[in-house]
C-alpha cells in the first residue's frame, strides 16, 4: 500500500543509494504506511548510466537527507534547504551558501543559509536592490563573479564593497529555474577571489537543480530522498516532459508550477514513469482532468 501524497505517517523513513550488479544506481526505500505496515521499494534511477557516470543528483539528495538539522524545526522545505546549504558549503569548499526566493513582481526573501553571515549577505542584495543573485534571477543564467573587487565600478557599486566588508571575495549565483518557471537563486560565497573550477561549477549547478526540483516537488519527496521529476528522465523524453508541463498548464488552467506538480502527482499515483505520462499527454492520449489526482 503506498501512502497517499500529503499523508504523513509516523515512523522513520530510510533511503539508501545502492549500486546494482549492472552498475546502475537504485534507491532502496523503506517506509511505513498508514496502517502500520512497512513497505520496501527498490526504485531504478533511470538515466544514471549516461556516459558511465552515476547520478550526482541522488548522491546530493541523500547527503542532504542525512545532514543533521540545526536547532529549530526539523521538517519543512526551509529546513531541507538549510541542510542543502550546509552540504553545499562542504562539497564546494565555500565560505557560505545562501538561497533566496524571488518572484517576477519583486517580492523576495532569503529562504535558507548555511550560517548567520551568509544570511546577512543574502539580505544585503534586497536591501541594496542589486547583486549577483538578483541578476541571475533576472537574466535567467548564472552570474559568476570570481573577484568582487573588480565589480564595484561596474555591476554592483554598493553590494560589492558591502559583501567584501563581510569577508566575501567571490560570489557565484545560480538561478533556480526550469524554463519559464523562476523561483530564485542559490549563492555560493568564497573568501578569496578565484574562479570556481569546472567540477565545482558542475556541482553547484547540480545543487541548484536539486533545490529547484525540491521547491517544485514539495517537502514530501525531499525528506524521502526520492528523485523528483525531470532530473533522471530518459534523455529522449526530456523535452516531452516540458511540453507536457505547458499542456497541463492550459488543460487545468493552473500556473506552470502547479502543472508540474500535477504531472508528477499523476505519475506517482498511477505508478508510471514521468516520461511515459508526458508522451501520452503530448500525443493526446491522456488529458488531465481538473479533478484528477
Amino acid at each position: 500500500m503506498k501512502p497517499l501524497i500529503g499523508t504523513t505517517c509516523p515512523g522513520p523513513r530510510q533511503s539508501e543509494l545502492r549500486k546494482g550488479r549492472d552498475g546502475a544506481n537504485r534507491i532502496d526505500r523503506v517506509y511505513p504506511t498508514c496502517d502500520g505496515q512497512r513497505v520496501r521499494e527498490l526504485r531504478d534511477l533511470p538515466g544514471t548510466r549516461v556516459n558511465g557516470q552515476s547520478s550526482e543528483v541522488a548522491r546530493l539528495q541523500l547527503l542532504v537527507g542525512a545532514e543533521p538539522s540545526g536547532d529549530g524545526a526539523d521538517h519543512g522545505t526551509a529546513a531541507w534547504l538549510t541542510r542543502l546549504c550546509h552540504v553545499a558549503v562542504r562539497e564546494l569548499d565555500a565560505a557560505g551558501v545562501g538561497i533566496s526566493l524571488m518572484t517576477g513582481e519583486g517580492s523576495s526573501g532569503t529562504a535558507a543559509a548555511s550560517d548567520a553571515t551568509s544570511e546577512i549577505i543574502e539580505e544585503l542584495q534586497f536591501t541594496l536592490g542589486e547583486g549577483p543573485c538578483m541578476d541571475a534571477f533576472a537574466t535567467q543564467r548564472p552570474v559568476l563573479a570570481p573577484d568582487l573587487s573588480q565589480e564595484a565600478s561596474s555591476r554592483w557599486p554598493w553590494y560589492s564593497p558591502a559583501a567584501q566588508g563581510h569577508g566575501v571575495g567571490a560570489v557565484f549565483a545560480f538561478p533556480l529555474q526550469l524554463g519559464a518557471v523562476r523561483l530564485g537563486a542559490l549563492d555560493v560565497y568564497r573568501r578569496h577571489p578565484g574562479s570556481l573550477s569546472s567540477a565545482a561549477t558542475t556541482l553547484a549547478l547540480t545543487f541548484a537543480h536539486v533545490a529547484t526540483m525540491t521547491l517544485l516537488a514539495g517537502q514530501e519527496d525531499a525528506a524521502d530522498g526520492q528523485s523528483p521529476d525531470g532530473i533522471d528522465e530518459a534523455l529522449e523524453t526530456r523535452y516531452e516532459v516540458h511540453q507536457a508541463q505547458g499542456m497541463v498548464m492550459v488543460q487545468l488552467e493552473v500556473t506552470l508550477v502547479e502543472a508540474m506538480a500535477r504531472l508528477r502527482a499523476y505519475a506517482y499515483l498511477h505508478d508510471r514513469r514521468l516520461g511515459v505520462v508526458a508522451r501520452d499527454i503530448v500525443t493526446r492520449s491522456l488529458t488531465l482532468e481538473r479533478d484528477d489526482q
Partner: protein, 242 residues
C-alpha cells in the same frame, strides 16, 4: 576548390554576424546558423546540440523543427555522429548510413527510416574545449567536398563565438553563463510549445511555427514570446486566446 560562390558564402557570414547585436535571441541565432549551414551545402536538414554541465548533448535548434527530426538529434545524446564528434573534437561523417548500423545501432536505423543516407557532424570548438556539435543530414549518399567542409567548420566556429558573445573569451565564467542561459531558453520554448499546442488544438510543431510567426510579426525575440505565453498570457492575446 569550393563549389560555393564566394559571394554566397560572404552573404551568409555577414548575415550571421549581423544578428550578434546586444539583444539577440540565442535560439533564433542557432536556428539561423543551422539553416544557413544546411542551405550552403545543400543538405536536407541540420541541427545543433550543446553539451550541458554534465557533458550531455542537448538539442538546441534545427533548420526544420519537426518532432520526428528532433528525435534524431535527441537520440544522439546517447550515440551517433554528434556524440563521436563531441568526444573527439573533430568532424565525423558517414557517406552511407546503411553501413553504419554497427557503429550506431540506435541512431543509424532511425536516420535511415527518416529518409537520410549521409550525415556530417562538426564540432563547436572553443580553443581546446568542445561545447557541442553541428549536424547535417543528406538524403543522398556521399561526402561534402573538403573545401566546403572548411566553410561549414568556419560557420560552426562563428556560431560558437556568437553564442559566447566574446571574440576572445577571457573567462570560463562567460561560457557557463551563456550555455546555461541557452539551455534554459530551450526548455522555455518546449513549455510554450506545449501550452500553445493545447490552447489552439494544434501539434507542437505547429505551435512552434506559431511562436515564430508571432515573434516576427511583432518584432519580438522568440524567447520573450515563449516566456510571455507562459507567464503573462494576457499580454499576447492573439497568441494565447483561442
Amino acid at each position: 576548390m569550393s563549389t560555393l560562390s564566394a559571394e554566397r558564402v560572404a552573404k551568409v557570414f555577414v548575415e550571421v554576424t549581423d544578428t550578434l547585436v546586444d539583444e539577440f535571441d540565442v535560439i533564433e541565432f542557432l536556428e539561423l546558423v543551422t539553416s544557413r549551414a544546411s542551405e550552403l551545402v545543400g543538405s536536407s536538414a541540420a541541427g545543433l546540440l550543446l553539451a550541458d554541465e554534465n557533458g550531455r548533448l542537448q538539442f538546441m535548434a534545427a533548420s526544420d523543427e519537426q518532432a520526428h527530426l528532433v528525435e534524431l538529434f535527441q537520440v544522439q545524446a546517447r550515440e551517433g555522429p554528434c556524440q563521436d564528434c563531441y568526444r573527439q573534437g573533430t568532424p565525423v561523417s558517414t557517406s552511407d548510413l546503411r553501413e553504419a548500423s554497427d557503429r550506431w545501432p540506435l541512431f543509424a536505423p532511425r536516420a535511415i527510416a527518416a529518409g537520410f543516407r549521409s550525415v556530417h557532424a562538426f564540432p563547436l570548438r572553443l580553443r581546446k574545449e568542445v561545447i557541442g556539435a553541428l549536424n547535417l543530414f543528406g538524403t543522398s549518399t556521399g561526402e561534402i567536398p573538403a573545401a566546403d567542409v572548411q566553410i561549414v567548420q568556419a560557420l560552426a566556429d562563428l556560431a560558437t563565438i556568437g553564442l559566447l558573445q566574446e571574440r576572445a573569451v577571457r573567462h570560463s565564467e562567460i561560457v557557463t553563463e551563456q550555455l546555461q542561459g541557452a539551455l534554459n531558453s530551450r526548455v522555455t520554448i518546449e513549455q510554450a510549445k506545449g501550452a500553445l499546442a493545447q490552447r489552439h488544438s494544434i501539434s507542437v510543431d505547429e505551435a512552434f511555427q506559431l511562436l515564430h510567426s508571432y515573434a516576427r510579426t511583432h518584432n519580438l525575440r522568440l524567447g520573450d514570446v515563449a516566456r510571455s505565453a507562459l507567464t503573462q498570457p494576457s499580454e499576447a492575446p492573439d497568441l494565447t486566446s483561442t
